[in-house]
């Protein structure tokens, strides 16, 4: 019986996006997360331990999440936005306070992710994963030094035409800004012109702009350089050892995803149960093992797979700056949009 109901819920939310119309019933949790970012093993463990049945729905960009929550017809209990979206969700009144500091296990959050600038005092959020955005190079094709932004933006001959970038204006533009030594969220047209020039110069060497199927393109050899997240790069390397994740000396883009509770969540108590569950080192470690990303809970290393704890992708070399992305003003977003349209028109 419960199997039937769960299947129906899954079908309804996946196929029709009708989660909003499903009335809140005891023992349910609607989780809204990035694609390929929820460990099935973790969800199974949570369901067994708490008796709460979980429905997972996914999105492909922070903007999709924002638009969905803005439409008001969401009905999610937990969402997992990237840190720079957290202040926007708070100021737009789309999330509700959880007062994380009063929750069991709060003191296990690692010091540099506790009470961060995007949510001081952790009133609304706790960390999920954190990671970096850089690029992956196939060292079987290119034997030079990969820790250099020229490899992707101004590629040597053997890599020309072998490059793939994300299809997302903010991710492509932030990486260009780090490479050029410019600040994020620039409102200065001259700086954005530099970004556009760099990307236009790169475009002839780009094979595709696509944020899906990264692993497949790298492993099959369809491309030799791909803009990438560190966790995904690790998963790709496990299948093809010649792949290496780059840490250029200018620094890499960094981000932290957070658990938040949207306003109007039908199962608030279950959401809190889930958040406390995720603060258990053993549980967040299951998630890290599945996705290949580091987390913000002290003591989880003990439960992490060998090969993940000391992976090169997860350990930036000493002195490489981690540049955490920011929440951009509407003016900055408009400039980014103009750069993107000019690039792909």
């Amino acid at each position: 019986m419960s199997f039937n109901r769960k299947t129906l819920l899954g079908l309804a939310s996946a196929g029709l996006g009708l989660t909003a119309t499903i009335a809140s019933a005891d023992g349910e949790l609607q989780l809204y997360n990035w694609t390929d970012y929820t460990s099935p093993e973790l969800i199974e463990k949570f369901e067994t331990e708490t008796g709460i049945s979980v429905t997972v729905d996914t999105y492909d960009s922070g903007e999709t999440l924002l638009a969905k929550l803005q439409s008001g017809a969401a009905g999610y209990d937990i969402a997992i936005p990237t840190h720079n979206f957290v202040p926007i969700l708070i100021s737009e009144g789309l999330v509700q306070p959880i007062n994380a500091s009063e929750l069991e296990g709060y003191d296990r959050i690692v010091p540099n992710l506790a009470s961060p600038w995007w949510d001081e005092g952790n009133v609304y959020s706790i960390p999920w994963h954190w990671g970096t955005t850089s690029f992956t190079v196939d060292t079987a094709v290119y034997s030079g030094d990969v820790d250099d932004y020229d490899v992707i933006f101004n590629p040597p001959e053997e890599l020309a035409g072998q490059i793939a970038m994300f299809k997302s204006p903010d991710e492509v533009i932030t990486m260009a800004q780090v490479a050029l030594g410019l600040p994020f969220c620039s409102e200065d047209p001259n700086e954005m012109q530099q970004v556009l020039d760099l990307l236009m110069g790169q475009k002839p060497h780009v094979k595709t702009y696509n944020s899906d199927g990264i692993l497949e393109r790298l492993v099959s050899g369809d491309v030799s350089v791909h803009q990438n997240w560190n966790g995904y790069s690790l998963l790709a390397r496990k299948e093809k050892p010649s792949l290496q994740y780059a840490f250029p000396e200018e620094g890499v883009v960094a981000w932290a995803d957070s658990l938040v509770v949207p306003k109007g969540a039908p199962n608030y108590d279950n959401a809190i149960t889930f958040i406390e569950f995720m603060l258990e080192p053993e549980n967040i470690a299951i998630q890290s093992n599945s996705s290949g990303y580091a987390n913000g809970v002290t003591g989880s290393e003990a439960f992490m797979d060998e090969g993940l704890k000391d992976a090169a992708e997860l350990s930036p070399p000493e002195g490489t700056p981690l540049k955490f992305i920011e929440s951009c003003s509407p003016k900055a977003v408009e400039l980014q949009n103009r750069v993107w349209t000019a690039l792909l028109k």
Binding site: S61, E63, T64, L66, A67, Q70, I88, E92, K167, S168, P169, D170, P189, M192, Q193, L196, K203, V206, K207, T208, Y209, N210, G213, S220, G221, D222, P330, V333, L335, Q336, N337, R338, V339, W340, T341, A342, L344, K345
Partner: protein
Amino acid sequence: MSDLLERLRHYIGVLPATFMIVVFMLAPLTIIFVYSFLTPGDYGGVKFEFSTEAYTQLLFQKNLFDEVEFDTSYLTIAFRSIWVATVAVLGSLALGFPAAYYIAQQPESRRNTLLLLITIPFWTNLLIRTYCWILVLRDTGLINNLLIGLGLTDEPITMLYTEGAIALGLVYTYVPFMVLPIYAALERLDKRLIEASRDLYANRWTTLRHVTLPLASPGIVAGAILVFIPALGAFIAPDLLGGGKKLMLGSLVQLQFSAARDWPFGSALTMVIMSVVLICLLLFAVNQRRNEGGFQH
């Protein structure tokens, strides 16, 4: 009394159709229309302030330095989409007409089997089918591996991420929409007319041109419309097979509702695209009527 009942029954009868038109067409269209005249909200959504900015933006863009200038970016994107949709129509016609003709010539029992085969690709998700083309076309894909294996070429031939790949993907996706209406027209075709044409010493080519094609033209027009409209908004094939290096109308609209956070502009684009499609349909219809008039004389 019975008259009233009769009327009531009549109204109840049209209720589902009215419901469909109002809920699925008029209401969303009204929302899009209203949004296209509002101001974009800071983080997506709209502010309820009247503005025609979304429409002027189509032709006059601020550059990075906030100077307003005549800008052809969006026109370029629009013409690219129209061009790609036209190629899809021509390609589907070239493949679809002979296929439909062949099916219509078969005995009735076999026709149904063949029609079933035409619809089989629809049983699989479009995204998956498009991904399969990636596996076939890419540098390390089936075709290149075969060619290299046979020693016909040393270097892989670049097929994926080209405009040819986009055209192939669109024709592959939409050709059934061309086959089915043409088949319907050809099936109804009076065979005696073809016999008469042959009796009058017309060769096959002349018969095709002067008898079969004109009679099949309603099917061809219907097929062309059914292929053109979805191909105009297509973005799966351009993104996946074309590499997403050039924006199409479909992805441009999608972008406005996501990263660009400009819902009014997305709505305005939608209104303009719909108007263009409507004008095309009207032209088709007028043309059609003129043709039909021609036959009567």
